[in-house]
Each structure stands twice: as structure tokens, then as C-alpha cells.
């Protein structure tokens, strides 16, 4: 029961981990990307479209599908789709100096609209009775477990039974953490988010760093959407099922104090909190809704604690949300 609960929490937490790792990379360049929910949504639908096309081209026959392509095509589609969204965001906010909050919110609206449009179109094509598309074949490739997981009892279930995107999320978070703290590139990126004028004077290409950080961040976030559809939802796409996971990912950034390594644990905590209502007996519908608020309540508590502790290292990048004009120094 406990093992199951933890596994479920991890499964729920992984999209958040992708989203927040992506958002951390973006925020470290000084850009508050509130478009993350939209970007994750687009990442999800791009993957769905990719796998839909591939499944159809194989005649919906699982035997004809090549496992590599079945995974690679949706993966690539999700990354490309979300990076395109990231490009729109960075063009507007970096090159045109548009307000980051407004741009981000617009992008979220756009992303969700786009996702619903494509989703509805696919449902229309399949002439499905249900308002959803099932890509269970592709999903089976995504959620393939490690072969020896079942032999190791609870240990195997806890550590080896997850889909490969879960491990990838943790690896990406660790790599991002390493790059941010232990390399020149990371130092440069952090300086861009803290004080772009300083970075500029030090000979760092601020615009380039902002673009690349935003796009890579979006790409990572998009994978979160894909993981949700393929692993969590077993390949079933229905419009708006993604819910508020994108916002939760942004809340997780604050919870994790802008540290990807903390975000790994944080995502599991969030996953557990989201899921707690299903494991507590005898809750009414209204109490269940209260439980769903828990991640946000925890985020607010973390915000209060960190602002009371006033440690500068725990604050957001100093130049977060502000446009950088070279001539205005």
C-alpha cells in the first residue's frame, strides 16, 4: 500500500519535475515564463500527434511498430513543439522586450487552445465515440518497465518499476543542477538572470543565453506533458485532462528554491499531496477538493519561511521578470 502510494506519487510528480526543471532553467536567465502550462500542453499534444501519425502509418498494428521509432517520434515531436512555443516567448520578451507576465499568460492560453484544437481534430478523424484518443500501443513502449523489476519485490517496485521518462526527468534535473553550479556555462547563465548588465560587461552574450535557456527550458517542460499522456494517462488524450499541472510546476520552482535537485524531491512531495485524497478513506467530494489545495498551501508556507529567513541564496534571480535594455545602464 505504502509502496503503491509512493510509486503513484512519483508518477504524478514527474510531469511537475519536468515543468519545474524547465522553468528553473528559464528563470535562471531572468525570464519568468508563465507560459509553462501552455508549453507543457503543447508538448503533450505534439507527442500525441506524432504517435498518432506513426501508429496510423503502421496500420495500427503493434507488431509492425519499431520500438525505437514509437518512442523517438513522439519524443521529438514534443520537444520540437514546445521549443517552438519557447521561441515565441523568447522572441517576444527578449527581442521585443514585451512584458513577461502578459506574454506568458497569453502563451498559456494559446497553448491550451492549440492543444484542444488539435485534440478535437484527432478525435474527429478517428470518429471515436468517446471524447478521447487512445494511443495505448505507443504508451506501452513508453511505460515498459525494466525487466528485472518484478524479481526484486518491493525494492524493485519502488526503484525500477517506473517508465523511462521518470528516470530521464531525474537525470535531466541532476544534469541541470550540475551545469548550473559547477560549470562556466552555469555561472554565466546565473549571472544573466541576476544582473544582465554585469554579464554583458563581462563579455557574455546576454541575448543568446536568454534565448537558449528559454528554449531548452521549454523543451524540458514539454517532455512533462508527454510523460503525462504516455505514462500517467496510459496514452489516452482527452481535452483539458492535463489540469493545472503546469501551474503546480511553477509553484514547485518556488518550493524548490530554484534548485533542480530539490525539485526532484519536491515533485514527489507534490505528487504525494495531490494523491493523498485517494488514499484517505471516507472523504466527501468537497474535502477532496480541499486536499487538492495542499501543494499550493505548502508552497505558500515555503515562501513565508524563506522570506522570513532572508537568505539571499534562496531568493529568485534578482533580475527575474525585468527586460534588459543595453542602452539603459
Amino acid at each position: 500500500m505504502i509502496i503503491q502510494f509512493i510509486c503513484r506519487a512519483i508518477l504524478l510528480g514527474v510531469p511537475l519535475l519536468y515543468g519545474s526543471t524547465g522553468e528553473i532553467v528559464t528563470e535562471k536567465s531572468g525570464h519568468l515564463n508563465l507560459g509553462i502550462p501552455g508549453i507543457m500542453y503543447v508538448g503533450a499534444i505534439s507527442g500525441v500527434v506524432g504517435s498518432f501519425l506513426y501508429e496510423n502509418s503502421c496500420g495500427n498494428d503493434i507488431a509492425a511498430m519499431n520500438p525505437f521509432f514509437a518512442v523517438f517520434i513522439p519524443l521529438l515531436c514534443a520537444i520540437v513543439g514546445s521549443i517552438l512555443m519557447g521561441l515565441i516567448y523568447s522572441f517576444l520578451t527578449v527581442t521585443l522586450h514585451a512584458n513577461q507576465n502578459v506574454t506568458g499568460l497569453a502563451l498559456t492560453t494559446l497553448g491550451i487552445g492549440l492543444g484542444n484544437f488539435l485534440g478535437a481534430s484527432l478525435i474527429n478523424i478517428t470518429k471515436s465515440e468517446l471524447p478521447s484518443i487512445a494511443l495505448t500501443k505507443t504508451s506501452s513502449f513508453f511505460s515498459a518497465k525494466l525487466p528485472f523489476a518484478d524479481d526484486l519485490g518491493w525494492f524493485g517496485e519502488l526503484f525500477f518499476s517506473h517508465d523511462f521518462l521518470t528516470y530521464l526527468a531525474i537525470i535531466i534535473a541532476l544534469i541541470v543542477s550540475y551545469v548550473l553550479n559547477r560549470t562556466c556555462v552555469g555561472l554565466n547563465l546565473r549571472s544573466v538572470g541576476e544582473n544582465p548588465a554585469t554579464a554583458d560587461a563581462a563579455g557574455i552574450n546576454v541575448t543568446k543565453y536568454k534565448y537558449i535557456a528559454t528554449c531548452i527550458g521549454s523543451g524540458i517542460a514539454g517532455l512533462g506533458g508527454l510523460q503525462y499522456v504516455m505514462a500517467y494517462a496510459s496514452g489516452v488524450w482527452s481535452n483539458n485532462a492535463f489540469g493545472d499541472r503546469g501551474w503546480m510546476a511553477i509553484a514547485l520552482v518556488i518550493f524548490a528554491l530554484w534548485k533542480p535537485s530539490v525539485a526532484i524531491l519536491g515533485s514527489f512531495v507534490f505528487g504525494a499531496l495531490c494523491n493523498a485524497n485517494n488514499y484517505i478513506q471516507g472523504l466527501g467530494t468537497e474535502t477532496q477538493e480541499l486536499f487538492k489545495m495542499l501543494p499550493y498551501v505548502v508552497t505558500i508556507i515555503v515562501l513565508i519561511i524563506t522570506s522570513m529567513r532572508k537568505k539571499r541564496e534562496h531568493q529568485p534571480p534578482a533580475h527575474l521578470g525585468l527586460p534588459y535594455f543595453r542602452e539603459e545602464r
Partner: protein, 514 residues
């Protein structure tokens, strides 16, 4: 020995929109010398140096480094020519350590902070810097931050160093320390260019002086063969009387008595610690101290903008001879009590005036509550605005121009004019001449003297110790939120004040060591 020209500028011109920032500038700096670039605010010194350090690109003209033409299109290019600039506003990342800031943007291949730290320590020893490479910037004093900036450019192997107003934020002692380091670098064969508008520093430090005026090059003189008067004339374009008049205070009475006020800021740090003093009518009380030692909080506390945790502020009303306690009153309550307090804050367009409103509307900020009808009364503010524009020679297209479009000096005149027009009994001014040219500065000094003659208690927070010593009757020194001494403006020396400025800091450090 014949000196090698390190950097030569030929016919450099830079235009921003319609403003000509630099016009046809020719300049040479040699190795093994300290060259001062002297000029008033807005004379184009910083723009010129920004072109050498790659932040701006000249519209016309050429730059030669070691007698070879150089194209400096970016800060990176500047590094490759071994040019390093120390900006007036430090370009440091607060949450990084000194070492991280120093290696920032460097392409050394591997990221190895340990090796970098060793190199930083070697450089520090060579020139006599004191720096802990692991210390975070936001815990550093201004002087330490400057040290980081200088080591940053030395680390990159710079041998042409440009310093933009390096002493603006230092105490006299720290300044002397910096000058010794710069002299050591000069003797080491480096070319040092220092931008400044402080004449005495030019005279004590540099080998030659180049003067700019309104974006144009006026000339270069050897420091040994020149005088303050000659340099001022070159800088301003006409002879200026550099003496500030100071009359004996007449008929002084206690006006404002501050007793043991303590103030804690948002983060919980004590910014004012048991501050007591008396301001008298008919005298100018100067407040000296390193920037951020509590000057702002002190003035704001008196003006009713800071919450105090203890102490009281007593105002002795000359009309009624009653004593009022101003503690924890809002500015409006203070005014309604009949206390005529005027405040010229250091943040002119943030706290003093509203940038997007015109001069008349800004006048009304102080008088809007006087009307008795439903509609605003605009006649008197308009007359006042016209009077200030006329009396103080404010350069503005009209009284309905948004003040944000005026130059710094004119903004300050509008603000001081408005505050003085309220015929105050206590006038508090914070850094009133910051960013002003010499003529405007002297006009402000004269206005303060006029108020003093009228029997106003003037409190003047300044940064230039020479001015404080010349203008003020008494000078109170504040260090880390504590009053460390009050000296007589007529007999005090800069060294004495400088020691007081750092006094409380040192005593704290001593206590910590024990």
C-alpha cells in the same frame, strides 16, 4: 626614459539621437602614468571611456593601442587589448562570491574555482589588496566591492585600467589606500586612466590631466604645472569663485532635539542606533558618513516616514514656544501640528517629485489640500512655478513640461525651490548637488545660506567632505547608524572626519576579535 603611448584616441565622435556626447576628441595616455579625465557631470567623460571599454562604439574616429589601430566592438574585444574598466556603478552579481564574479565570462576552458582563488590571492599580494575570495558580494562594504572590480580586470591581465569616479563612495582613508595601490600599478608600468570631478584628487594623484567640457576636448596639462583655479576654468569655461561663503550663525535657538532614536529596518538590522543631536535655527548642520550609514533613515524618521523603536524627536515651535513630539506622526499630522518641515530627499524623482507630472502639478503636491472648493486651485501653484523657474533659472520649455524631461540640475532646482517656498523652519536636504554641475551646485549652496540667514535650521547630508567643511557650521558624523562625533565645521579636517566615519565599524571589529 621615453614613455610609450598605451592608447591614443583620434577624432572620436559619439552621438546619441540629437545629443552629441563626444565631439572630435583627441587624447593620449602613456604607460607608467596616471591620467585624469576631468569634467563636469554630463561632459562626456564616461561615454568616452565606455567607447574604450567596448560598451559603445564610436560613430567617428579611431582608437590606437600601442600605436596600432584597434577596433573595440565589445567588452570582449577590450579585454583582448588588455583594457579593463572599473565602472562607477559596480557590475557585480550580489549572490556570487568574489571569486565567482572575477572569473565570470572568462573562457578558461575548465571551471576550476580553486585555481582561480590561488591566482586571485597572488594578485592581491602583488599590489597589496585585502580580499577574501570566498566572501559573497552582498556582505561586502563598498570599498571591498571596488577591490573585487579592480582585481577582476587585473585577473584578465589588463594593463590599461580605467576607473570611473572611483572615490565617490570611499572614505578619505580608503581613498588614500586606493591611491597607493594605483601608484604601485603605475610604477609597475600600467597605464591608469581615472575619471573624476574632484580637483584635489586630480592634483594629488595624477601625472597629467585632460579636461572635457560639454563633450568637447579642452586640453591636457601636466599636473605639476597647474592649479585648482586653472583646472576649474578649463572645466567650466569661465572663472568660478570656488569659495563658499559662510556667515557666522546669528541668534541660534534649539529647533529640533533628537533624543536617542533607534530604528530597525525590514530585515531586522539596526539602521539607527541611539542617535541624539540638536539642530539649531540659523545654522547649517552637516551630516557626513559613508553612503548607507543611516543618513536616509535619519532624515526620514524626522520627516515622519520611518517607524522608530525608541527615542523621541522634539520640535520647538518658535511661534508658540511649545514642544511637540514628532515621533510616529505621519507627514500630514506633522504639518497639521504647525511644524514647517521641508525635506529634499536624495531620490528626487522617486520621493521628491513625480516625474510624469509637470512643474505646476508638482507644486500642487504640497498645496492641494489648501483649496476650499470642489475643484483644484491652480492659480497659486502656477505663480509659484513661474517664480521658481525665473528665480532659480530653471531651464525648461515651459511650466507644463513633465519634470522627468528636465536635466538633473533643473529637477533639483524645482524641488529645492518648492520646499523653500513653503518657508520652512527646518530644511533637510540629502545630497542636493549630486549630479549637478558646478554652477548649479553653487546656486544650491547659496540658497541654503539664504535659508540659514533667515533663521532656518538647515540639515545638510553631503558626500563631498570638502564642501561639508566649507559650508557647514557643525558637522555630525554618522557611522553604521551611530553618531560617532560632532565637529566644528570651521576647524575640522578631512582626516578627522574620515576617522570618525569608520570609527564605529572598527570598534565593532575590535570587539569581535576579543
Amino acid at each position: 626614459m621615453e614613455k610609450q603611448p598605451a592608447i591614443q584616441l583620434k577624432n572620436i565622435t559619439k552621438v546619441f539621437g540629437k545629443v552629441i556626447a563626444n565631439k572630435d576628441i583627441n587624447l593620449t595616455a602613456y604607460r607608467g602614468e596616471i591620467l585624469s579625465i576631468l569634467g563636469e557631470n554630463g561632459s562626456g567623460k564616461t561615454t568616452l571611456m565606455n567607447m574604450i571599454s567596448g560598451i559603445y562604439f564610436p560613430d567617428e574616429g579611431q582608437i590606437f593601442i600601442d600605436e596600432k589601430e584597434a577596433v573595440i566592438a565589445s567588452p570582449k574585444d577590450a579585454f583582448s587589448y588588455k583594457i579593463g574598466m572599473i565602472h562607477q556603478h559596480f557590475k557585480l552579481v550580489d549572490v556570487f562570491s568574489a571569486a565567482e564574479n572575477i572569473v565570470l565570462g572568462l573562457d578558461e576552458g575548465k571551471y576550476n574555482l580553486k585555481a582561480s582563488t590561488e591566482k586571485i590571492k597572488r594578485i592581491s599580494e602583488q599590489y597589496g589588496f585585502e580580499l577574501d575570495p570566498e566572501k559573497k558580494i552582498y556582505t561586502m562594504s563598498v570599498s571591498e566591492k571596488q577591490t573585487v572590480e579592480i582585481i577582476k580586470v587585473l585577473y584578465r591581465g589588463a594593463d590599461i585600467l580605467i576607473l570611473d569616479e572611483p572615490t565617490a563612495v570611499l572614505t578619505p582613508q580608503e581613498t588614500e589606500k586606493l591611491f597607493n595601490i594605483l601608484r604601485r600599478m603605475r610604477d609597475d608600468g600600467k597605464c591608469i586612466i581615472i575619471i573624476t570631478h574632484k580637483l584635489h584628487e586630480v592634483l594629488s594623484l595624477s601625472d597629467r590631466v585632460s579636461v572635457l567640457r560639454k563633450g568637447e576636448y579642452v586640453g591636457t596639462v601636466n599636473t605639476r604645472e597647474t592649479s585648482e583655479a586653472e583646472l576649474t576654468e578649463m572645466m567650466v569655461g569661465k572663472k568660478v569663485d570656488l569659495n563658499i561663503q559662510r556667515d557666522e550663525p546669528k541668534d541660534t535657538q534649539e529647533r529640533l532635539v533628537v533624543k536617542g532614536i533607534t530604528c530597525v529596518d525590514r530585515v531586522g538590522a539596526t539602521v539607527l542606533d541611539d542617535v541624539s543631536f540638536t539642530a539649531k535655527s540659523g545654522e547649517i548642520l552637516g551630516i557626513a558618513g559613508i553612503a548607507g550609514s543611516g543618513q536616509r533613515e535619519l532624515l526620514e524618521a524626522i520627516a515622519g516616514l520611518q517607524h522608530l523603536s525608541s527615542g523621541e524627536i522634539l520640535y520647538l515651535n518658535p511661534k508658540t514656544n511649545s514642544i511637540e513630539n514628532l515621533r510616529d506622526k505621519t507627514p500630514m499630522q506633522i504639518r497639521n501640528m504647525g511644524v514647517r518641515l521641508s525635506f529634499v530627499p536624495e531620490d528626487r524623482l522617486g520621493m521628491g517629485l513625480v516625474g510624469n507630472m509637470d512643474i505646476i502639478d508638482n507644486m500642487m503636491l504640497r498645496s492641494y489640500s489648501k483649496g476650499h472648493t470642489l475643484f483644484l486651485e491652480r492659480k497659486n501653484p502656477k505663480d509659484l512655478a513661474m517664480k521658481i523657474i525665473h528665480d532659480l533659472e530653471v531651464v525648461t520649455p515651459s511650466a507644463s513640461t513633465p519634470v522627468r524631461r528636465l536635466s538633473g540640475g533643473n529637477v533639483q532646482k524645482v524641488l529645492v525651490g518648492r520646499e523653500i517656498a513653503a518657508s520652512p523652519t527646518v530644511l533637510m536636504v540629502a545630497y542636493p548637488v549630486r549630479g549637478l554641475d558646478i554652477n548649479s551646485s553653487y546656486m544650491i549652496y547659496n540658497l541654503l545660506n539664504e535659508q540659514k540667514a533667515k533663521g532656518v535650521a538647515v540639515i545638510f547630508v553631503g558626500e563631498d567632505l570638502d564642501v561639508l567643511i566649507e559650508l557647514c557650521d557643525r558637522i555630525m558624523v554618522i557611522g553604521s547608524g551611530r553618531i560617532t562625533g560632532v565637529v566644528d565645521g570651521r576647524t575640522a579636517t578631512k582626516e578627522e572626519i574620515g576617522l570618525l566615519m569608520t570609527k564605529s565599524k572598527h570598534s565593532e571589529e575590535d570587539a569581535g576579535n576579543e
